[in-house]
Symmetry: C2
Subunit: 485 residues, 2 copies
């Protein structure tokens, strides 16, 4: 059985077992499921558990009930679904387009004004996936243990035990970071802001993955830096050939920002050989690497991949990360290790927001330093895997032919290419009118390259309502396709 | 009797009464205090209360005990203490000096390495002055009332009730701010960062008060902006004549930053007529005003002065403030109202650190929206007044002749000019070696203008240890003076 956990209800354990069989092809589309009576006998479970299991797999789109005949494995469209194409090489160009902030602001504003019932635009898990009660208790303990906490300014750099715990966790990604080098920040986004300010200034060129998350493009634009978009594989991440080529044309690249693992929005993972080559090459060219490692704990196989930083021997890799996606979307705790720019990073943090408040650090530090964090991560990964697969299935089943989709091996996002060049912003508005929010591909580049893509959240339980929302999206896409013909 | 409060012990109420009499001259230096027996009869108090009261006033430097004669009003040096001079007009110049960050970092680092026993370098009250228990309880309530708080990203702009409470409190400063215009930030320093980024860019000129708080100079330097230091009166704040004159020479001033009330480090307060004139003039010149209003609730008389923003009719004043100094130094909650730059401020906040976490906002919102905040502020003001006066007395008593000091009518800081051009950094190091930390004047300007000044914290109880520290400072200054001769 797949991932049996103490707290997992029996019907879900069973469902995992049969999902596995379906994934493996042991049960093929059109096959009849064992009858409820058979299930009860075979697994020694009650009628209610057997039924609940079947309904659960039905809700996930894996089974269908046929009147008076029982449950059958559903015909799955995934086989017909083509992964998103590898990027055709393009010469990275410094697009003159400025206005990503305006575009993002306008889309966020439309999203906020609408009455959104199903929000597929986010890039975090649903609240039920996070250990909110344990963190609340940890916070209350911290308040009791530190009665004068609110009376004294928080310690510079961060709270000692939290920094030590982060440094210990970094070992899992094969990094040796001194706790003193860790500067606690307001989420990974502040870490990225500080890293960029440390290594570059207005007018400088910064190489980024394409597509990349819009917060990064916003930050670059707000600092007057120029984003050089590098072709990026949905499988293996940034193209090193394209990057090396671009550096022949642009001799003023100051930094490269990479999300090596489960990249947002692609879900790509850089192979170790790429990371090693990138580190050596960037050091030889005097180009700083800024690594955003927010998602690396979210791989399906549970192995934390080695950070780019782990290959660094010259202090050329600034490591940025966050607990926002892995531990608590309601907390904004990130960190940065500034490598050879450490002094400047510390100064900028002090001048920008001062040290972070201590309370959250104490509470989170206690949690991540315990096996409870490991247990939580195992649970979170299993859930994300299930939710992501169910969402991919639904897209494969309902979206029009020609849709392309890569199912990543971890992370929170699905990156979907719509057929026929359907405009993601038209779809965004049409979906919003029906109470559904998605993230249009136009947010993820300064170019028009991804205008017919969508980022769909893979971090929420696949309920009947979500299923209905995916059907609605599918019919809106079909309608937009018709309009184009 | 002065400021009778429910929780004030009897001996402190009595002490306030006699302090008043001494302040008013009813009891003159050299006068004998009523005997302990007289005090007991006159006020119907116990022997212990009467004695405690006398010892308290002795500790504050107001009385001295003469063996077998009782307590006498101490000869006070304050009369001989000259206020800090009004600035001699200088032509504001764009100093080429860059390196305030290096200087600040070096001084902070030295301060952190040393074994500091008495820290007079801070600009906040001691922990005992803040309602830490009430805020802890409010936080625990917030955690109980919002069980899913840690599971969902915090709301954009800030938590609704907190913003509404801030808007209501702003009415006290005669401001009409829509709660929607309030963006919650990480302390006032993030608000100032956002305001500067909204109105200016690298290379631009920003007019500042001189002296000003070093965080501001750091922020400007870190953004590559140029600080134009304007002469500022210890009494009435920034010199409008000098500012107007400077604008004739520099036609590229993008913004003016003012701390209108109880300025850090001077303690100056701009008269209403100056604020009105500044607003009209700046609007006519197209120069943005950034108002840092962190200290306005800390006036001895308890009246919140009208914000500069309250005179604004053209959307030209960005208002920044914080609860860090008035409610909880351990919390980093500030806010900004972006006036005509609101859209850009919102975008920059989103790109820089994302919305603040909700927990602290809920807890603080509940507190500041209740009369408990008013009671706390009354208590805080009374305590600060007492601590500031005691510190000023001690400086007047112990520091060498020629020392100048202005006693502000509110706030947290004392600004002290040492005689004979004694170097504040030499004193800083000498004091640090004895476990005492002060803020050297060289931190408060890019010029050498304040190298012989000190900022001394006026926010901590004047204990025997603090008294001893001031004596030590005095003798170190005397020693440095001797060295110079």
């Amino acid at each position: 059985m797949a991932v049996p956990r103490e707290r997992t209800p029996l019907y879900r354990q069973l469902a995992g077992h049969y999902r596995h069989a379906i994934d493996a092809g042991t049960l093929a589309p059109g096959d009849r499921m064992p009858s409820v009576r058979t299930l009860m006998e075979r697994h020694q479970v009650s009628l209610s558990t057997a039924l609940q299991m079947c309904r659960h797999l039905e809700a996930q789109g894996l089974l269908e009930a046929r009147p008076r005949s029982g449950y059958f494995v559903r015909a799955r469209a995934r086989a017909s679904l083509v992964p998103v194409a590898e990027p055709r090489p393009w010469m990275p160009d410094l697009l003159q387009y400025v206005g990503i902030n305006q575009r993002v602001s306008s889309i966020l504003a439309r999203g906020l004004q609408a009455d959104v019932k199903i929000n597929l635009a986010v890039a975090h898990g649903s609240p039920s996936l996070y250990p909110v009660n344990a963190l609340r208790q940890a916070t209350i303990r911290a308040l009791r243990d530190h009665p004068m906490l609110y009376g004294t300014p928080p310690p510079g750099g961060g709270e000692a035990r939290f920094r030590a715990a982060l440094a210990r966790r970094a070992l899992e990604a094969r990094m040796n970071v001194n706790p003193e080098e860790i500067v606690v920040t307001h989420g990974c986004i502040e870490a990225i802001n500080l890293a960029l300010r440390a290594v570059a200034g207005a007018g400088d060129v910064v190489a980024v993955e394409s597509p990349t998350y819009y917060a990064l493009l916003q930050t670059l634009e707000s600092m007057g830096m120029r984003a050089l978009e590098i072709p990026t594989s949905p499988q293996t991440g940034i193209s090193l050939e394209a990057l090396e080529l671009a550096s022949e044309t642009y001799d003023n690249i100051k930094a490269i920002i990479v999300v090596p693992h489960f990249q947002n929005p692609l879900g790509s993972v850089m192979p170790d050989s790429h990371k090693a080559r990138l580190v050596t090459w960037a050091a030889s060219r005097g180009i700083a690497i800024i690594e955003d490692d927010t998602y690396s704990a979210l791989g399906d196989d549970g192995n934390v991949p080695a950070a780019v930083r782990s290959w660094d021997t010259t202090g050329n890799v600034i490591h940025c990360a966050s607990l926002h996606k892995t531990l608590a979307p309601g907390m904004r705790l990130g960190w940065i290790a500034g490598a050879k720019w450490q002094g400047r990073v510390e100064m900028l943090k002090y001048a920008q927001t001062r040290p972070n408040e201590a309370l959250a650090q104490i509470a989170m530090g206690e949690f991540i330093d315990s096996p409870r964090y490991d247990r939580h991560l195992r649970h979170l990964r299993a859930q994300l895997r299930e939710h992501r697969a169910a969402m991919a299935e639904a897209i494969a089943t309902y979206f029009p032919a020609g849709t392309r989709l890569t199912l990543p091996a971890g992370g929170l996002s699905l990156w979907v290419e719509m057929p026929g060049g359907v405009s993601s912003e038209l779809l965004f508005d049409a979906a919003l009118a029906k109470g559904i929010r998605v993230a249009p591909g136009s947010l993820f580049s300064n170019s028009a390259r991804y205008d017919h893509f969508l980022r769909i959240n893979g971090g929420q339980p696949f309920t009947r309502e979500v299923d209905a929302a995916v059907r609605t999206l599918a019919s809106e896409i079909a309608r937009l396709l018709d309009t184009k013909r």
